[in-house]
């Protein structure tokens, strides 16, 4: 097995639709996955992300659409002929075979000669840091080890596309964090096109080249992690990724106002009928001195939570909206914090003043 997989394939999906009765599991979805890219399908349960993955794998047949791996149309190809690697949420390892039996299964199906099979199994196991585990039985393995065996099994036949369906959700937090980094390294090493499904936005932000946020069978936004976090294009994405509060703003010609007060922003203003201002807790500050360059809001402190390394404060705006702000705690910070009921002035840099389309999606 070569160290990196030659010729990773791009994926081109067009107009994929899948309905169950009246429900649109996938609603005219089109997606381009670049060759060698790590793309995550991120969304809540029922959003359609797993359905889309299953369409890519061939286990769910859409009502219509086109799917190309590279130049080849695959939409009507049976799953066992698609040559994609797949890792399942609960690993789906074969309990009646050893680790080597599992990992060697796809090679036996492809009539690879026996000596080569053993070689490639060991190589794959080494790649996932389980070298020498071939003779172990599946029920002797820990969760993390099972995960790696599943991974080894899915890459041993050098597929040019890898699909993963929430593979880390069954692991505990520490293991999950570590595996995220390992999977990322593996991807960089092997270079195959990877489509990853998860509902954990933090996981998606950590691992992906690009993220497609999915909801109600549609792609809400496709962008890099930073792009999604900094400039979401709709409320759903803004809400799903990171914490945010929304304030309704009005547009008067070129000016955007909140509560009559014009806002200064250095960010692009979307061309939408209604707009909202998205506030991220870590971007809102307690104003130390008044400056003309910063947006200021008047509010009343309503709650204060000490979190060790940071504080979390809730402040109520005049119109009743409650926003949260988070700040690091250094020496003297706690003493300087306002008390509950105090009047506070909040500051927001123009660079952090993000306006997005206010429609409900």
């Amino acid at each position: 097995m070569t160290d990196s997989i030659q010729g990773a394939l791009p994926i081109t999906a067009r107009n994929i639709t899948k309905t169950y009765g009246k429900v649109h599991a996938l609603d005219d979805v089109s997606l381009d996955v670049k060759s060698g890219e790590f793309l995550t399908l991120l969304g809540p349960s029922g959003s359609g992300k797993t359905t889309l993955l299953m369409v890519l794998a061939g286990f769910t047949r859409p009502d219509q659409g086109s799917l190309k791996f590279g130049d080849q149309e695959m939409i009507r190809t049976a799953p066992h002929l698609r040559d994609v690697g797949m890792v399942f949420q609960n690993y789906a390892l074969f309990p009646h075979m050893t680790v080597a039996g599992n990992v060697g299964y796809p090679l036996r199906l492809r009539n690879v000669p026996m000596p080569e099979i053993s070689q490639r199994i060991e190589k794959a196991l080494e790649t996932v840091q389980l070298g020498g585990y071939g003779t172990r039985k599946i029920d002797q393995l820990s969760g993390g080890q099972k995960q790696r065996v599943a991974l080894a099994r899915s890459i041993v036949f050098e597929p040019r596309i890898l699909l993963m369906d929430e593979p880390l959700s069954a692991l505990d937090k520490k293991l999950r964090d570590r595996m995220q980094i390992e999977l990322r390294h593996l991807h960089e090493k092997l270079g195959m096109t990877t489509v990853y499904v998860t509902h954990d936005q933090r996981e998606a932000l950590t691992m992906s080249d690009r993220i497609a946020v999915v909801n109600h069978g549609r792609i809400m936004q496709l962008a890099t992690p930073q792009g999604l976090y900094e400039q979401p294009t709709n409320r759903f994405v803004a809400d799903f990724i990171g914490d945010s509060t929304f304030l309704s703003v009005e547009r008067h010609g070129d000016q955007i106002t909140y509560n009559g007060v014009p806002l200064k922003t250095s960010r692009p203003v979307p061309d939408a009928a209604s707009l909202v201002l998205m506030l991220r807790p870590e971007r809102v500050r307690l104003a130390t001195k008044t400056t003309k360059t910063v947006n200021e809001f008047q509010a009343t402190a309503s709650e204060l939570v000490y979190q060790g390394d940071s504080y979390l404060m809730y402040a109520t705006m005049p119109d009743g909206t409650e926003i949260s702000l988070r700040g690091a705690i250094r020496q003297g910070t706690v003493a300087a914090l306002p008390k509950i009921g105090d009047h506070v002035t909040l500051a927001l840099e123009p660079g952090d003043t993000v306006l997005i389309d206010g429609r409900d999606v």
């Binding site: 009502d63 659409g65 086109s66």
Partner: protein, 294 residues
Amino acid sequence: MASAFIYADGLRRDERLERLKLFGLSSPAILLVLVILVIPVGWLFFVSFIGADGQFSMENYERMITRKSYFRIFITTFKISLFATALCILIGYPLAYFMSQLPNRIANLCMITVLLPFWTSLLVRTYAWLVLLQKRGLVNDWAISLGLWDEPIKMVHNMTGTLIGMVHIMLPFLILPVYSAMKQIDRDLLKAASNLGASPRRAFWTVFFPLSTPGLFAGALMVFVLCLGFFVTPAVLGGGKVIMVSMKIVSNIELFVNWGAASALGVVLLTLTVFVLWIASRFLNLENIAGGGH
């Protein structure tokens, strides 16, 4: 894009083909059942409307209402089925309860006493009762030596013997579903009842018993339905004096070759069975009953 819509047709065809292939896996089985059961029984339905002269007539059904002996047969069948079911409940429920309270290992051992007769041939068990209940059989001998009664009592070739035999055969069919339902009752619920002030008797009747009723109902239903159509045991232990519908059907064919009468009886028996099952399906998932015995 135009190409996507071309695939819509192809995809639909692929889906239909796959569905057909999967369903086709069960087609040999379905074919067998259709050819050997459904079609012949359907044909019998038509035969039931043919009288002794070979013409269409309702006489086979009329006979059931007009002739007293026929009517009595239905009453007998119902009576025996009801009694047998009741006895099974009275005897089987406590045993199931007893086993459900035991630790698993011991319960499994006791279960052998239920499963052994269950798997033993029907004929063997019926024969055994025939021997046991004779005038000079074991039961009479021991009862007399224990002083329970003086003269040997006639316990075969009558209702008593039939009932005893049937209850013995049917008991496992009741015990298995009830036991399985009891095992699933959360023990903490009884602790909660106790803690809230219920006496042990109260806790049993208000918490445990109601939760065991689905299994009880399933088992009782199975027993009742099986009794309605039962043939072997009543035929042997009843000695011709206790006549159930199934026996009349058989005698109609074997002795009189009266297919019309036999079919009509069969149709009525089937209708009754279906009716009872339908009532039960309103309260139960039928698949659970079928799986209850295993």
